[in-house]
Amino acid sequence: MSELLLLRHRVIPEIDNLTVYRQNDGFQPFHQVVTSMQPAEVVDIVKASGLRGRGGAGFPTGLKWSFVDKNAWPHYVVANADESEPGTFKDREIMERNPFQFLEGVAIAAHAIQANVAYIYLRGEFWKIARQLERHIAELHAAGLLGDNLFGTDYGLQIYTHLGAGAYICGEETALLESMEGKLGQPRLRPPFPPSYGLFGKPTVVNNVETLTSVPLIIEKGADWYRSFGTDQSTGTKIFSLSGNVNKPGNYELPLGATFRELIFEHGGGVPAGREIKAIMPAGASSSLIVATEQALDTPMDYESVPAVGASLGSASVIVIDDSISIPWLINKTIHFFKHESCGKCTPCREGNYWMVHLTDRINAGEASWEDVELLQDVASQIKDKCFCALGEFSIEAVLSGIERFPEDFRQRTAAAPTKVEVDQENPE
């Protein structure tokens, strides 16, 4: 295993204790930022580090910070801890086991954009983690690391938690902001983007937990040090959440650019005995299915290389599929997820996923013909590029790639059905 920058509790087990965290130079970077650095310097270091958003979009973090409108105040930082992508469980481990590094990252980001209030939006299921974080925030106040006039300066910072209540869509940053304002979690039309019009209509930076947790060490050790991990374009380390048909599922922190083979076979112990690896979903349920060829397995997991094999890195939640799994069953699963989680705002996603649930239910049950597979393909293609937000666009990734790359599985499922099934177009059921 390479050096751990995020899952440091695996080498320093008591790092969730503030004293231990500080003995390991914790809150030195924040102290330095507040007492002796200009916000712009901090933004420049993060830019130079090449850090990109770890929630899935991979947007350059420093650039996002630099977009904050300096003519409108106050500013806010919101940590996105709504981790809900099927197959993703990395932010949870960070917040449970290395919470102070995360909180310090929030604090540094807040200072960099001169926000005096930061919120952590956690999915409602993370109720216990929110309680723990609140205790840690109280400890930071007691230690003089949060509150007014920090380190004798004019700068002050409060961090609050805010619990969601079960809605995948709130991981989309503008839906998250709506939810924080006490509204339905539905995405906003963009532009304007949050750095100009965010929480309560004020300039806001929304960053994923893992992104923020990467920041303290970048400030402490510098951009060049950070760039020594990973590849030219995809710098640093990343937590890969490995799940599915694999012997040792779990979180693995590796430099960006490590291969699927290394993750799945060296670290994850490969697929269960007697089975063969069939497909990989590199970005959870939102992912296209990659055929697990030798070439695919040797593909570096970074923001540039994964698209070259027909998927994207996303939040790096790698789901392994072995040869016991039928792809029609799998896409039926992912479509049920998206149908349940569609916020209902735009028609292609809301109605399209409803249609796809019915079609994939029938296909999976062996009650459909090949024409239904074509109809499914047609519905999915019509959803493509017409949704209000990325969630709708993600819903069809597994469907279209599944049909295209694993047609045999669909032929088998439809072989038993009559060649022509009467489909009432008004009532697909």
Partner: protein, 168 residues
């Protein structure tokens, strides 16, 4: 009478302090959790009370209860056992686990045991994919995760609740 406003006065003030004074509506989700703690689920009366406290309409509050899956507008078992059967969990046997668990309790998914102790629900990803089969248990007091479960361990847990409730 506004029960929530009276009984949870300090808690509500503490929640409101988190947000700018002109953004009271941000407190609606925390207040819905309080209502659930008080009443077991979000009653019509609670929606009205929250609406009054936050200067919203009861309809707006009700729409949020409908939108977010952790809020309930009807009574369920004291322990809501929510089993994830999403893709990663299903690949580790979560569907079979759910089926057998329900079979043993003598109920269908979505139903409550006759003694009102347990409601079993099927839910979407809970970020516990590497430790499936897993479920969360929601009570008025909060949420707890139970991971790396077997049929036996889950049934034992139900037995512990049963004893706990009998004693209580």
């Amino acid at each position: 009478m506004n029960t929530l406003a009276e009984k949870y006065f300090d808690d509500i003030q503490a929640v409101l302090e988190k947000y700018p004074a002109d953004q009271k509506q941000s407190a609606v989700m925390p207040l819905l959790y309080m209502a659930q703690r008080e009443y077991g689920y979000v009653t019509k009366q609670a929606m009205q009370e929250i609406a009054e406290i936050l200067d919203m309409s009861a309809t707006e509050v009700a729409s949020l209860v409908g939108f977010y899956s952790l809020y309930y507008d009807e009574e369920g078992g004291k322990y809501r056992v929510q089993v994830c059967t999403d893709l990663s969990c299903a690949l580790r046997g979560a569907e079979e686990f759910l089926e057998k668990f329900c079979e043993n309790l003598g109920i269908q998914v979505g139903e409550t045991t006759p003694d009102g102790l347990v409601t079993v629900e099927e839910v979407k990803c809970l970020a516990g994919c590497d430790k499936a089969p897993m479920f969360q248990v929601q009570t008025g007091e909060g949420l707890t995760y139970y991971e790396n479960q077997t049929e036996e361990s889950a049934l034992k847990q139900v037995e512990r609740w049963r004893i706990q409730e009998d004693v209580g």
